[in-house]
């Protein structure tokens, strides 16, 4: 099932002009604060009525201003996970979880209360009131509440934004599970590169109310032209297969035949995982560097260059099947005489591992 969104809406400070399609899997609406991400999610949920546009899930039309179709929020069958948990304070956790269940069609596919409670580990919280929950606990209950309404689409609007780093690390795996084990498409709003790299199958990049780029996560993240958060946050996402775990605490991975050594990862040999390689952790050399401490040096070819307005530049390179970004200075681009097609060596200084598996899709 594909979510298709076309909408136009003028606010006082921002004009939304949006068109994108979200295929199954996790589609991340990615952009800085104020780019209109939440308004798009609200329009999909029916909380914002766009001045013009059409929104549909598969062939079910939720909104079509030309034909005068408007499905009110409560008939859209969406699970909306908000930035704040928005739990009902006067109901117990159990009552919060089951609030939407009575409205789901009896034959609608979806998890049972027991399954959700087990997945989120909230058994002990069931009799409590939301007021007695920690931030992370409340976030998990909010996820469970959305799932139990048996939605046809899950909307998540920066569900981790209000949590501290340890809580984020605690909640993120649940979204990975959703992506990998639930047939329901997810539209996930975020301004965090980490979340995009870990969760996204598709990325839609928003800037000032417009879609500037959309496509598969690895392609969009490796595009030097797409840096909604600035070049400092740019970085590519690649998939790797675990080859072996070595005795010195390193794991050997294979990225399309290229060898990559990283600090020990948990997946067993043969399994795949996602890696994020920040552009500023990639150095380029035109001759193979000798005597450097970096373990990972890959032969590559320059496939794109974007000169920044400051002293920096983003260089896209292709190493085997993987596309990476390197952030270097404009001066280096000139000194090394880099152009599209120049053979280079990429020196990877650091690799951050996105825990959990790659999406099946």
């Amino acid at each position: 099932m594909t979510l298709s969104v076309r909408l136009h809406h003028a606010f006082a400070a921002l004009t939304l002009d949006i068109a994108f399609d979200a295929p199954p899997g996790v589609t991340v609406l990615f952009g800085r604060s104020g780019s209109g991400k939440t308004s798009v999610a609200d329009a999909v949920a029916g909380l914002l009525r766009p001045q013009s546009g059409r929104i549909a899930i598969g062939d079910r039309v939720l909104c079509d201003t030309q034909k005068g179709i408007w499905v009110p929020p409560h008939r859209r069958r969406l699970g909306y996970i908000f930035q704040q948990p928005r739990l009902f304070p006067h109901l117990s956790v159990r009552q919060n979880l089951t609030y939407g269940a009575r409205f789901a069609p009896p034959d609608s596919p979806g998890p049972t209360l027991d399954a959700v409670v087990a997945m989120l580990g909230i058994e002990a919280l069931l009799p409590r009131r939301p007021g007695a929950l920690s931030g992370g606990e409340a976030a998990r209950v909010a996820i469970g509440r959305a799932l139990l309404s048996h939605p046809a689409l899950i909307l998540a609007d920066e569900p981790l934004a209000s949590l501290d780093a340890p809580r984020k690390a605690e909640i993120l795996p649940y979204f990975e599970q959703l992506r990998d084990h639930s047939p329901v498409p997810v539209l996930y709003v975020s301004h965090s590169v980490t979340e995009v790299a870990r969760l996204a199958t598709t990325v839609v990049v928003l800037e000032n109310g417009r879609v500037v780029r959309q496509g598969p996560a690895d392609a969009v993240l490796a595009d030097p032209q797409v840096t909604p958060l600035g070049a400092g946050e740019a970085g590519a996402m690649i998939s790797a297969t675990v080859r072996a775990h070595h005795d010195d605490g390193l794991s050997e991975l294979s990225v399309g035949g290229l060898r990559l050594l990283v600090p020990r990862v948990s997946p067993a040999p043969g399994e795949t995982l996602r890696l994020r390689i920040a552009a500023q952790d990639v150095m380029l050399a035109t001759v193979r560097p000798e005597g450097v401490s970096a373990l990972n040096i890959w032969p590559a070819v320059v496939t794109g260059i974007r000169l920044g307005e400051g002293p920096g530049a983003l260089v896209q390179i292709e190493a085997g099947e993987a596309r990476l970004l390197a952030r270097i200075t404009r001066r280096s681009v000139r000194a090394l005489n880099l152009a599209e097609g120049t053979p280079v060596y990429a020196v990877l200084k650091a690799v951050s591992v996105a825990r959990g598996g790659v999406p099946a899709r």
Partner: protein, 231 residues
């Protein structure tokens, strides 16, 4: 109680309780609706409605009573029409309840409106995204959350209705056993020589009823707050 209070005094107390009870009960649904409209809806004439609701608070009660008499009196058009239907207001206890209800209405609306404004509309949005129709959202989310406000509004209105004097005496006069409410009775006793002791007994009853209402509302409000807040 009847032994301690004279029959006339007891009649005044019972009448006042009856008047205040019906005044509160009948205005409550309208009060909730008005408070909701003022807190949440946008419509032309909202300021006018707000003004009309608050008018009895600003006008001298005698003026309100006289306006009621001009509208609902036996010879007034509305009053005559209601009499055709068998509804008698002027110089009846029902008229006293109407006067008390109108005088208490602004206080009730104010308390309920404040509590509705305190409800986070994002909770209602969340309920809607979970599939709940609007009426269900109101009954299961909004209403439980504003219950303390409704209670406070009702108690305030009840207390105001118990004590209403000016509009009542103007509209329905001061007929012992029929329209003589507690304040009217106190006033009447103070007009005759030797009536002080009876007036004093009624004053004591007034204080007791007021205190009981306050304590009751406090206890109920706390219970509801604990249920709603979940702490």
């Amino acid at each position: 109680m009847t032994g301690w209070l004279g029959p006339e005094e007891w009649a005044a107390v019972a009448l006042s309780l009856r008047v205040a009870f019906w005044a509160t009960l009948c205005t409550l649904p309208l009060g909730i609706l008005t408070a909701h409209a003022l807190a949440r809806w946008r419509f032309p004439g909202k300021h006018l409605l707000n003004g009309i609701v608050h008018l009895p608070l600003i006008l001298p009660p005698v003026v309100t009573g006289y306006l009621l008499l001009m509208t609902f009196g036996t010879r007034a058009p509305v009053g005559a029409a209601l009499q055709e239907l068998g509804i008698f207001l002027a110089f009846r206890w029902t008229g006293a309840a109407l006067a008390a209800g109108i005088m208490a209405f602004p206080l009730m609306v104010r308390a309920i409106r404040l509590s509705i404004e305190a409800v986070d509309p994002r909770l209602e949005q969340a309920a809607a995204t979970l599939g709940a129709p609007r009426a269900w959202v109101w009954a299961t989310i909004t209403l439980p959350l504003i219950l303390p406000g409704i209670l406070a509004g009702a108690i305030l209105a009840f207390a105001k209705a118990m004590g209403e004097f000016g509009a009542t005496i103007t509209f329905v006069s001061n007929i012992p056993g029929q329209t003589q409410t507690l304040p009217s009775a106190i006033y009447a006793f103070l007009q005759v020589p030797g009536g002080e002791s009876a007036a004093l007994r009624l004053v004591a009853v007034s204080v007791a009823v007021a205190m009981a209402a306050l304590i009751l509302s406090e206890v109920l409000a706390r219970r509801i707050a604990a249920r709603v807040g979940g702490a």
